[in-house]
Amino acid sequence: MAQDERPLEGWDPGPIEGAALAEAVERAFDYRGDVTLVRRAGGELVGYLFNRDADAAPPFVQLFAASGGDPVTIPYADIRSIRFTGRDTAAGNSYAAWLRSREAAKAAGSARGA
């Protein structure tokens, strides 16, 4: 189940509870993409998990559903699993693309000057 340093995008820990659930919640909180929250009572919610409080009584998570509306609060106890289904928007592609385009422009510039 341990995810270590592997990218979270696409991760599906399966049914979880206790410490494993708490860990998955922490990872989802830090994740800059949507997750799919599977409820114990059935049904799924796709959204951005922006907050959690493991010390509250009872512990809860908060999401903005991808379909819109106000934030939704869900107790840990109602969560069966969390799948990391959305794209990780912090994967850093924009900067890499900029560096590549700048290097290409520089190379083109020096080729013109030569």
Binding site: F29, R32, D34, F50, R52, D53, F64, T89, A90, S94
Partner: protein, 340 residues
């Protein structure tokens, strides 16, 4: 230093009142983020990486004003995202000015000229456009990952100054910045006619695309000492001189994370503008339930180890001015002589 007298007076009386009340924690500047959407994607930015449905959302003016009331800080900084992309930015600023809040609208200025031409804002001593400028043309365009943005920002600054607005600049410095080039940049901004400049080292956001170019403490001291040890009289800085001296290594400050509390669509951000360790539903809850002892340079928190960013340390500098004769004397001296 270039902060107008009326603003200095407002801040001074506010801080003295808090001290007389023996309030150990009080906010100085509310960091109000009405949206995360931006028209740039800067290498060092960790603020904009969200799914599309979050980027399309924004706070309502009512939510913003409720946060301003709840917090009570005399100054409101509006960063983002890009606040000029916030559809209610005109009405929001008008409401804040009517409440006599000193507003710093932090913008990359790409849309500034257009918004001014639309007549969205009225000049006021309470409103300052704080334009993101990370150095001369080459350095700035590199930092924001797009050619031509420096020239657009200069055009925006000129348009705002022509209309009688207060304009300041905010500059984030990264590893590799040249002290001489920065001094040339200060000259260029003064030639443009901005009221003052704000400087800060960058923060190593865990979500920022560029993780390599953040200044560590020793390098920050070296760079700021080189840049500022012999400042020209004409350079005006719109920030606490003690904060600049701290960056030069002349003061050993601890962070005041509650000094610049942050509110956005997720709530009140713990513990500061830079870190996202959770959200409180109310300002009171933020102040009363955040484990403040876990943050700051001396806390041992890895995330705070190298941080010298203005949002954590400028409130300490301001507080030092009013907390000791040494701090007061140093502030007055630097303000009168321009020496740091």
């Amino acid at each position: 230093m270039s902060v107008p007298l009326s603003q200095m007076w407002t801040v001074a009386t506010y801080v003295l009142k808090q001290r007389l009340r023996r309030n150990p924690r009080y906010p100085l500047v509310l960091m109000l983020e009405p949206l995360f959407r931006c028209n740039l994607a800067c290498a060092g930015c960790g603020k904009i990486q969200y799914p599309g449905h979050i980027l399309r959302k924004h706070l309502s003016v009512e939510q913003c004003l409720a946060a301003v009331e709840e917090c009570g800080a005399p100054m409101v900084s509006i960063p983002g995202g890009e606040p000029l992309m916030y559809p209610e930015i005109g009405p929001l600023v008008a409401e804040l000015v009517a409440r006599r809040k000193y507003v710093y609208l932090c913008t990359n200025a790409i849309l500034l000229k257009e918004k001014l031409e639309e007549g969205l804002f009225t000049p006021s001593k309470y409103l300052s456009f704080s334009v993101h400028m990370d150095g001369l043309r080459e350095e700035h365009d590199e930092a924001v990952c797009r050619e031509g943005v420096y020239d657009q920002a200069v055009e925006g600054i000129r348009a705002a100054l022509r209309r009688g607005f207060r304009v300041t600049t905010n500059t984030t410095l990264f590893d590799g910045a040249s002290a001489i080039r920065m001094q040339m940049f200060f000259d260029e901004m003064m030639d443009l006619g901005v009221e003052g400049m704000m400087l800060s080292p960058g923060y190593s956001y865990s979500k920022a695309p560029d993780q390599e170019h953040f200044l560590r403490r020793q390098k920050t001291h070296e760079l700021f000492s080189k840049m500022l040890s012999n400042p020209k009289k004409r350079w005006k800085f719109n920030q606490s001189p003690l904060f600049l001296q701290f960056l030069m290594g002349k003061w050993d400050f601890e962070c005041t994370p509650w000094g610049n509390p942050t509110y956005n669509m997720f709530g009140w951000q713990r513990p500061c503008y830079l870190l996202q360790e959770g959200y409180a539903a109310t300002f009171k809850e933020l102040m009363e339930t955040t484990r403040w002892e876990g943050y700051g340079h001396r806390s041992g928190n890895e995330k705070c180890k190298d941080c010298m960013v203005h949002c954590g340390y400028e409130p300490t500098a301001v507080n030092t001015t009013f907390a000791s004769w040494k701090g007061f004397k140093a502030t007055v001296e630097a303000t009168l002589t321009g020496r740091l």
